[in-house]
Symmetry: C2
Subunit: 344 residues, 2 copies
DNA sequence: AATTAGCACTTGAAGCAAATGAGTGCTAAC
DNA sequence: GTTAGCACTCATTTGCTTCAAGTGCTAATT
């Protein structure tokens, strides 16, 4: 990977203009257009020499000998990390982010859904996200709600979440009092324990369950299933936004794109990584990530609040993507999210 | 609207073959191909005469003078109601339906999600559905679960459902005992009442709330919000399946299609109607429904179990749609659904 | 040594005409 | 009522030319 500093200032400037223009117009950029728009004081021939050098260095490519230049994956990466002028969001956009999260920050599900939604709406690219599911998260309370003779909803309160999608079977012969008692016993037992610790319990082998063994087996089974289910943790939003970009005028490409975005396990593995707070990460398909289509980029940020990792969220779109906007949105969403969740 | 019986048997047969072939191949069908595939005993000239007559009657159209014939909206409607040979699903497909619903029939949400999912997967078209939200559904029980100092989850058990997505604010000053007492009072009060009755209550004006007025106001507010929210009741699945069909090779068309399918209020109004049990209903875009794109069809069925209407589900796709398969899937899903939910 | 003007060369895109062929409609015979 | 036969239509394909945008290279200039 090339170091940006190896390039002369002029080369950097020219490369920046090429990427700027290409992102804006989607048309390969020519030496002539560069001198007309940005570099009136040097001639197109000089620019051609520079472009040729940048091509040699691997930052630019040509579709054919007589076409303008197009940035390479390396160029985009350099652009995001060094060349790009950082964008600021408008006040309206900032207000929009704040409003969304203030309106609906009651439960984690809403927050997470809104995160991908906001990102997708403001960037106009499909967004993806994973919720960090923390094995070390402590359980505070467990409650059963029997809503049918043979079935109960299991409500689990943790440090950061309320889980309410787990169900267990309850023997019809069991009385409400017995169920309530088992709830108390189990609740006391799990209080302060982490998911990991609880999943490792082997109720079959223990004695202190006061006869509620099968209930406990069911609950632990449900917890294990929850911990190992990866599906619900991947959220995508605005997949159809990809259609609005000119490089996706071809149905084959759209299919290819969607076949990746809809594969939750692939998204999962792409987003799972140890990023620091709101550190922007760019992955480009043509750069060896086989789960990202050739002409796509994935730009992500990892969010935390109160030192707890919330998850990794980002945008997936054409390599020719409005990185200025995307980075600005990701950074600001992170800030708002953190500030809102911190003063809970 | 033409009556099928006005057509001679031979015309019906020919029209059926035309629609069959066109659905299969997506290519305008010619007199020659008809005589070769289906009508070896009559000449292509005779078929041409019949086709010409069917065109006169409004069942067929030509793209240009020297192209084959394409069915009109009327032809498709006649095809579905009279001409089409009813398809049977394979044992594998039937097992698939049963398995899905048996695995996850615990809660209504799952059932509903799986309904659209199964329909979409088996037909390979996008599916849509609305859950019948019955004003007259009776509430059996209400429970509060306080998971944070200032907030509680409201669990509502009705005849057919468990609602668990409503939250209320709780004054921090309120003790757990007080909340539990308010729960008992409220639960007794609503037991056996319908949503409609409860939404009409005016807690501000009543006295018998033992000082829990603001909790009750909050709950009723949440219930009203739930009853009036239409968003959650519309479910769509497999929108991307539309890409697999050759008539959607054009991105403009795809956009147009998605702009309709993603508008929940439009879907809502299209699906809201008084259909009988598993009665198949076909709406064709070019037939005056302005919310359906020109070249699209919407095929729906309304499902019930134990005499209670569950909702209306269906498929939206190109007018040139595999109606045989779609109708077979819709009918069978309805049957399985009914049988599973009836012996609860 | 860097810059630039000038020119030859490449190449995709656009436009056009001719050839192709699938399909119809119509007429006259069966 | 059916059918063979033929003229006619029209979208599609193919090959060809022209056009313009853009580069690379060389030689002159600063």
């Amino acid at each position: 990977m090339q170091q940006g500093s190896k390039l002369s200032e002029r080369k950097k400037k020219i490369l920046q203009y090429v990427v700027d223009d290409y992102i804006e117009t989607a048309v390969p950029v020519s030496s002539k257009s560069l001198t007309e728009k940005h570099l009136q004081n040097i001639s197109s021939a000089t620019v051609r020499n520079e472009l040729s050098a940048l091509e040699e260095l691997g930052y630019l490519t040509q579709l054919h000998t007589s076409s303008g230049r197009v940035p390479s994956a390396d160029a985009y990466k350099l652009y995001v990390s060094e060349l790009m002028v950082k964008d600021k969001l408008s006040d309206g956009e900032l207000d929009y982010i704040k409003k969304i999260f203030l309106d609906k920050a009651d439960n984690m599900e809403e927050v997470i859904k809104n995160t991908t939604k906001v990102i997708s709406e403001l960037t106009s690219y499909p967004s993806v996200g994973i919720t960090a599911k923390d094995n070390a998260e402590k359980i505070e309370n467990i409650k059963f709600f029997r809503y049918r003779k043979d079935q109960a909803l299991v409500l689990i309160v943790t440090e950061h979440r309320l889980l309410k999608d787990n169900y267990i079977n309850v023997p019809e012969s069991m009385s409400d009092e017995q169920l309530s008692e088992s709830e108390t016993v189990l609740s006391n037992m799990v209080k302060g324990k982490t998911f990991e610790e609880i999943c490792c319990l082997e109720p079959e082998l223990e004695d202190n369950f006061l006869g509620y063994k099968n209930i406990f087996v069911n609950v632990i089974e449900a917890l294990r299933a929850y911990m190992h289910s990866s599906d619900d943790d991947v959220i995508t939003e605005g997949e159809d936004k990809i259609l609005e970009h000119p490089e996706y005028a071809d149905v084959g490409k759209i299919k290819n794109f969607l076949s990746v975005v809809t594969k939750k396990d692939k998204i999962m593995s792409l987003l799972t990584e140890d990023g620091k707070d709101i550190e922007i990460n760019v992955k480009i398909g043509s750069d060896g990530y086989e789960d990202i289509p050739e002409d796509c980029s994935l730009v992500t940020a990892t969010y935390s609040a109160n030192g707890v990792k919330l998850g990794t969220y980002g945008v997936i779109g054409p390599t020719r993507m409005d990185y200025q906007k995307v980075v600005a949105v990701l950074e600001n969403v992170g800030k708002v999210l953190e500030s809102i969740l911190s003063n809970r």
